[in-house]
Structure formats: structure tokens, C-alpha cells
Amino acid sequence: MKNILYLLGILLLALVLTVPSCQKDDGNITPVSPSAVTVDLAVAPYPVLSDYKFFRGVMKYQVPASDVIPLSPATPLFTDYALKKRFIWMPAGEKATYVADNKILDMPVGTVLIKTFYYKNVLPGGGTKIIETRLLIHKASGWIFANYKWNDEQTEAYLTTQASTVPITWLQDGEQKSINYRIPSETECLICHKHQGQPIPIGVKPQNLNNNYRYPEGSRNQLIRLIQQGYLEPGLPSNIVSTINYKDHSKSVDLRLRSYLDANCAHCHAEGGHCDYRPMRLAFSETVDPVNIGLCVDPDEFVGAQYTSIITPSQPDRSVMRLRLGTNQPNLRMPLIGRTIVHEEAVELLEEWIYSKKDCH
């Protein structure tokens, strides 16, 4: 019954969207000024972020233009506790199509994915500091990366192709943390964002967006919102196998860990990935079988005599994955790039999962 309602909802929304003018809006959608977004694929990437006009008003507040839609995957990639705001924009009249629950949407040429990395409670002042905004721009030749580094005044962000580091100190849940935040080079972006050597997005999959997001106009399923915007072809499957928020303690430890592993590990450790020669298969669609997480699986590499399995049931201190998630040592840590400090909450979650396993099944 729920599914039928869901489908009906999508159909109704699709009908609403076939009405072409905002003037005839029934009030469900707040009228906004027309978007001024401009993405000339022949010119992009532009030298500065403001050139795209993705944001209204003062850019650092990241208020999106009317056709720049926020996104948020159920579980994000951990990058040294950086907070992120994500958006998607498509040229008028273009829309993405569904491929599979666990595959990135087939997005039209002209699509831009926008991701801003920032910290709150930044010391000494305690304010917010935006470090970079990364774009993935879909050109006819494929996706390109464009990274924009924000100035100290937080008034503009400038295109950068070279890696750089930004020292930052902030309060994370009341605890002071300091890192050298790394803005990656294009080459580094490609380590994770690739398929058969070509750049691709990672997170924009139905499984990660089939959840509610709090839009200014109210909370709504993200996929429905994209359909409503005209950014996604209607007619999605009724039952999308979906990841969850790894912080959602109302869900099973298994679902939480599997969601976390998908977001943080599966771009390499999945069939066809950068590191698929190692025995783990960590995509959400593959981890139904705990053997793919490494339960009772021999590690390829010796990292210490006590580490006899990738996951040793009920024994985190004999589990290679626990060691790798819990260290900052560069040749041992996982993920290899994208973090320099340990994600404590993830380590706790993994330990909880390991303790939940009493045997190899």
C-alpha cells in the first residue's frame, strides 16, 4: 500500500511539473527569483566560483539559486570531519535517468555537481570557514573536475589545479582538533572518482538519495524532489534498496556499517574498483554477505602476527580493518587518501559490528 501511494505521489508530482509556469504555482513551492545560473561548457571551468551564479546573495551563505538543488547522501564520505553542502544543477529541459539502485544516475551533459567543504567552530574566532568548493562538470567529452579554493575573506573562490594544504583548528563536539586540510589535485580526485580511468561522480545513486531532506519548503524525499524539479525521469522502481544514515541508532548495526562502508570504501573496494584485487567487496549491494566485508577472510598483507583475519569475530584487536580504520599511519590507514585523522565514530561502529559477530557467519 505504501509503495502504491509513493508511486501515486510521483505521478501527481510529475503532473504538477508538466504545468510550465511558476506563476500558476499552487503555493506548495515558494516562488523565487529566476535563476541566473550560467554554465558555458565551452568556457568552463570558470576562473572564479561566483561566475557560475549558483548562489544567491552573499556567496558564503551558500543559498542556492532556484534551480540549484541541495543533495545529501544518507551517509557521507568522511574527510577529516569537514562539513559539506552539496548541490546539483542541470540545464533547462535536461534530466537524469535511473540506471540501478546502486549505480550513479545517468546525468545529462551540462550537469554540475557542487560540493562545498567547510568547518564550524573554527578557532580562534569560533566561526565558520569555507575551504573549498569542488565541481564535477559533465561535458560532452565526460566529467571534469574543477576545484575552487576560498579566500580568507570568504568572498570568492578561485580555480586551482594544484594540491595545497590549509591548516585549520576547530572544536569538534567540544574537543579541539588540528589538521592540515588537503585540497586535492585533479590526479588525486581521480583516484576515487573514476571508472575505467575516466572521471565519474560517486555519491549520486538512488540508494543514497532515497531519504528525506529538509528543504526550505519542507522535508521531502530527495529523489521525488529531483523529479519535481525535472532533474530526474519519473517512474522509479517502487522498492529502492537504500543505504541509511550510519548515525541512525534506530537501525541495525549491520545496516549502519554497510552504509558507512559503501560511502567510504566502495569506490575502490568493489568489483571493478581501484583495489578489487584485495578480497573485500564493500559496496552496499555486495555486503549482504559478511564474507565480502572480510569476516574470517585471510588478509593478503601481514600487518602484525595477531591480525589473522580482515575481521575476526568479536575481536577488533585481531581485525585488520579495525587497525586500518583506527590509524593515521599513511601506509596503513584506510581510506588511503581523504583523511589524516581517525573517524572515531566509524571505529566505534565497526567495533560494534565486530562484537556482534560471534562466528564466521
Binding site: G197, C268, H274, Y277, P279, E301, F302, T308, N331
Partner: protein, 554 residues
């Protein structure tokens, strides 16, 4: 006077049965341990040829200098905060020829050099801004100008190198020696696989997703700093997931063979390592089946080759059989291209830096604070210590050969072997039960050849470039020399009139006679020979034969 010898007919005696050695662990608390210390190097740092223990961090270099009387004296030198630390590998060499070795740190973000001052008491950091996801690092004289350059495998982009201007100043370069756009470069081993006197570069490669970046590469050096990937033609284009290849002349036939070690068995297959015999003609044959390696299912990112039991045949170490309750995995060379596995439960490690830390001629392993001292056996040995003059200071890239009843053994001097570590720069040979070495020959990167006859055994022999120049034969203090070597058009033989020569012949390394002449013996026209190594043979009316190897270059 040197006795006549005829290399072509030298028959390799099986020296003796395999005599596996054991190791005894000793822990030194003064060795810094645990990240962020990097415990990667066991190599001489101060020019006394005694291997030292080298541990670095972002701000310190700790050296435990091996003492002639045994034991160590520890020094810690504070450095500037290195931009990049050796997260993935470290190499050591003297880039400014001041007698104190310099350091190369390969990190996931870039490359830092630490250059020793004139007394080895302080180091100056030189870091490069260019992004490099470093894997194996090497010091090697890439353009053969006598100055050490540096080479760094790039995990995710074309490989990079740093050329030395002769004053120890380095310039960044990318491209030309392994240019796959996705990288996949893990284990670069510089080796003269085609015996033409220059350094070629083998790259053990690894990458998932079915990427062609996983296919190993073999870059042949044309002698002018131009490199061509000949892996397919050479039968070295292996797509197994490898982080290191162990190169040595496993059958003592005068050319470098390879064991390309697998780091994973992605489909659960067994026998994933590849033992590749050098055919001497630029190609390799996979002889894994029946060698013992087909049954070695111990995976490792590190594989290195040394003669641990000093029986005259190079062995291998890499990986651990800890899952089966064992320890470090050795493969002992039986001398006939078969290997016997030996798991040493007392060596509870899978990788180590390798050197002789008690100067007993038997190679030891070091991992962290622990030295695994080789307990040795009754076999004899010799240790060759090089000092370059025209070539780089450490003699990196030199080919060292020893001749005796066994025929010939060879080694290449390498900075950067296996995957991550830096091992001794001294050249170790086991002699088995042999008690005499006819001669030691060093073919320097410069082209100089030094020969030391009848060196002492069970001792170290120091050879300074150019002080024992090649002489074919010496009669009444007059030497017969073959020069230049390498040669392009003509080879000259000095003082040839001292011999009653009947014929001068040239053989290739397969023993095929390429040319002969029965007159005008002082000048040999070699212009029609293809590039490579050859042997010059002089026959006399008395029935003696004198042989000398030379290299032809175009």
C-alpha cells in the same frame, strides 16, 4: 700473472647442498620505533662500509653507527620539518659525492630529500612541490653522467625523476620511464637485464578494475637516457598484482633473472608468483612450474633476493606464513633453478631492511627495533665495497662479478630494492665451500672496469674506481688492456706483441662465434656487432687462451 681462463667454457659447479640458516632476534631499545618513526633503512651512512641503522621522522634522523669493534653508537640529528615523510619508501645514496649519504623520502603527497653536510652531522631539506603518490624510490644515475639521480614510482600518474646537475641540485621531471596515465607503479628495480652496461628499469605494477595499469613494464635503456618499454617482447608484461620483483642471477649463468612476486591472489588462485629466467637474448621464460614457486602461496608486497646462506646461489625473502602458525618466508635456491621453502618461526615479520649488522659476512634482517642476526654456517663469502670516482660515489648501477671454480656470479648495486626498504650498498657473495676467488671484476657505470685478482675470502674487498684497471694479461709488468670499453667502432688491445697470437675471436654471450681475425691483432673492428655484451678471445701458438668481456654500444 693472471692465469688464463676461458669464460665460455666455465662450468658452474654445484657448490654445495643448500644450507638454510636461522636467525636470532636481538632488540635494541635505542632504535626509535613505531609511527611516526620510519624504520626503513639498514645501510652505511658515513663511508666506513659498516652498515648502520637509519630511522627517520619528520624532524629527526637517528643513526646507529655500527662500530668496527661491534655494537652501535647512536646519534640523533634534528632536521627541519620535512614536507614529506617516507610513508611508502626510502632510498639512500650520495648525490653530492661528499662521502656522506643523502636520503630520499617518498610520501603519498610528494618527495623530500635530506642532504648530508660535509661531515654528516646535519641535513638540509630539499622538498618538491609536485604531487607524487610515491611508491618505490631509487637513487640511480639515469642519464649516466656520473651523478646520482632519483627515481620515484607514482601510484596514480606517470613516474617521476629528479636529475642531478652534478652539484647535487635536482630538477623535477615527469614522463619517459613508465607513462601509464593511471600509474599503477609500485616496485621499480633498476637492473642491467640485457648486459649492455647501462641500467634498465623494471616496474612491478598493480591496479584493480581490470586496468592495463596493472601490467608490469620493462624499460630498456638505450645508453643515452632514452627508455623503451619492451615488456611485451621480453615476456615480462605480467598483469598479476605485484608490488615488487626480486632480481638476481639465480642460475649463475651471467644474466639477471626475475621473481615477480604477487601481492594478492584476487580470484583465490594459487601459484601466483612468476619465476622468469633470462634467456640472454632480451627475453624471459616463465619457469615457475616445477621450480617450487608454484607451491608458494605466501603473498607479500615485499620480495628481495640475497644469498642468505652464502652457498653461492641467491635466495629470496618475502612474506610471512603466520596464518599457518609460522613466520618469515624464505625460498632457498637449490642452484638448479628450483627453490626450497623455509619458514622461520623466529622471524615473525614479512619484510625487513637487509644488511650485515655484525660484519660477519652473513646478511641480517632488521624490522623495527629488532635485528634478526644470521646465525651463519660454514660457508665462505666475500663482501665487495665500492667507491666511485668517475661514476657515482656509491657505485650504484655497477655490475660486480666474481670468478672462480663455480664459474661466475654477478650482482648489480642497487639503491631501492624490494618495495619499501633501503638495504646495504655493499655487495655480498656467498662462496659455498670454495676457498678461492680467481678475480673480482667491477663494471662501473662510467664504463671503467676494475679487476682484482685473488682477493681474500671471508673478508671485505674495497675497490676504488680506476685503481685496478682491467688488464687482459700482464707480462713483465706490461699489461694487455682492452679499450675502450664499451666500444663503438674499434677495440684496441695494448701490448699485443707480448703474445704469440694466432687468432682473435669474438663470441656473443651464447657462445656463438661472431667474428675472427688472423692478423692485425691490435685493432678489432666491432662496428658490425649489435649492441650488447661480448667476449674477446685470444689464442696463442702455445695453446693458451685469454678472454675478456667487452660491451658494444652504438
Amino acid at each position: 700473472m693472471k692465469k688464463p681462463y676461458f669464460l665460455l667454457l666455465a662450468i658452474g659447479f654445484p657448490l654445495l647442498s643448500t644450507a638454510q640458516v636461522t636467525f636470532t632476534a636481538t632488540t635494541y631499545n635505542q632504535i626509535p620505533s613505531g609511527w611516526p618513526s620510519y624504520n626503513l633503512a639498514t645501510v652505511d651512512m658515513n663511508g666506513d662500509y659498516l652498515d648502520d641503522i637509519v630511522v627517520v621522522s619528520a624532524t629527526e634522523i637517528t643513526i646507529l653507527y655500527q662500530q668496527a669493534a661491534g655494537g652501535f653508537t647512536s646519534t640523533t640529528i634534528t632536521t627541519s620539518m620535512a614536507d614529506y615523510t617516507p610513508d611508502w619508501s626510502m632510498a639512500v645514496g650520495d648525490i653530492d659525492k661528499n662521502g656522506f649519504n643523502d636520503l630520499l623520502y617518498g610520501s603519498g603527497g610528494g618527495v623530500t630529500f635530506m642532504k648530508a653536510n660535509a661531515t654528516g652531522t646535519a641535513y638540509t631539506e630539499v622538498s618538491f612541490n609536485e604531487y607524487v603518490f610515491s611508491q618505490r624510490t631509487n637513487f640511480v644515475d639515469i642519464n649516466n653522467d656520473g651523478h646520482l639521480d632519483a627515481y620515484v614510482c607514482h601510484d596514480v600518474a606517470p613516474n617521476v625523476y629528479y636529475l642531478n646537475d652534478g652539484n647535487g641540485n635536482l630538477t623535477f621531471h615527469q614522463g619517459g620511464i613508465g607513462d601509464h596515465p593511471e600509474g599503477g607503479n609500485y616496485g621499480s628495480i633498476w637492473v642491467d637485464y640485457d648486459n649492455d652496461g647501462d641500467q634498465d628499469c623494471f616496474i612491478a605494477k598493480c591496479r584493480g578494475g581490470g586496468s592495463t595499469a596493472s601490467i608490469d613494464e620493462l624499460h630498456q635503456n638505450d645508453g643515452n637516457g632514452n627508455f623503451t618499454n619492451v615488456a611485451v617482447a621480453a615476456n615480462m608484461a605480467n598483469a598479476d598484482q605485484s608490488w615488487s620483483g626480486a632480481w638476481n642471477d639465480y642460475d649463475n649463468d651471467g644474466d639477471m633473472d626475475a621473481m615477480v612476486g604477487a601481492s594478492s591472489a584476487p580470484n583465490g588462485e594459487t601459484g601466483v608468483h612468476s619465476l622468469m629466467r633470462n634467456n640472454g637474448d632480451g627475453t624471459f621464460t616463465n619457469i615457475t612450474a616445477g621450480s617450487g614457486w608454484e607451491n608458494n602461496n605466501t603473498l607479500s608486497i615485499e620480495h628481495v633476493s640475497y644469498d642468505f646462506d652464502n652457498n653461492g646461489f641467491a635466495d629470496m625473502f618475502g612474506g610471512s606464513d603466520y596464518l599457518a602458525g609460522g613466520g618469515g618466508k624464505f625460498m632457498y635456491n637449490n642452484g638448479d633453478m628450483t627453490f626450497t621453502p623455509f619458514v622461520d618461526a623466529g622471524v615473525n615479520i614479512s619484510d625487513a631492511s637487509i644488511g650485515d649488522l655484525n660484519n660477519d659476512g652473513f646478511l641480517d634482517l632488521r624490522h623495527g627495533q629488532t635485528v634478526y642476526y644470521n646465525n651463519g654456517n660454514n660457508n665462505n663469502w666475500v663482501k665487495i665495497q665500492l667507491k666511485g670516482i668517475a661514476s657515482n660515489f656509491n657505485g650504484i648501477g655497477a655490475r660486480v662479478e666474481i670468478y672462480g671454480d663455480w664459474g661466475k656470479q654477478i650482482r648489480d648495486v642497487r639503491s631501492g630494492d624490494g618495495f619499501a626498504h633501503m638495504n646495504t650498498l655493499n655487495v655480498h657473495f656467498g662462496l659455498g665451500t670454495a676457498t678461492e676467488i680467481d678475480s673480482v671484476r667491477v663494471l662501473w657505470p662510467s664504463g671503467h672496469v676494475d679487476v682484482v685478482d685473488s682477493p681474500a675470502i671471508n673478508d671485505a674487498v674495497t675497490i676504488v674506481e680506476g685503481t685496478d684497471p682491467l688488464s687482459l694479461v700482464e707480462i713483465g709488468n706490461q699489461k694487455l688492456d682492452v679499450f675502450p670499453n664499451p666500444a663503438t667502432a674499434e677495440l684496441s688491445i695494448s701490448n699485443i706483441g707480448l703474445l704469440n697470437v694466432t687468432e682473435v675471436e669474438v663470441y656473443n654471450m651464447h657462445g656463438e662465434k661472431m667474428q675472427a681475425q688472423s692478423g692485425n691483432f691490435g685493432t678489432i673492428n666491432v662496428s658490425s656487432l649489435a649492441e650488447g655484451a661480448y667476449i674477446l678471445l685470444i689464442r696463442t701458438t702455445e695453446g693458451n687462451t685469454y678472454a675478456e668481456s667487452f660491451v658494444k654500444k652504438n
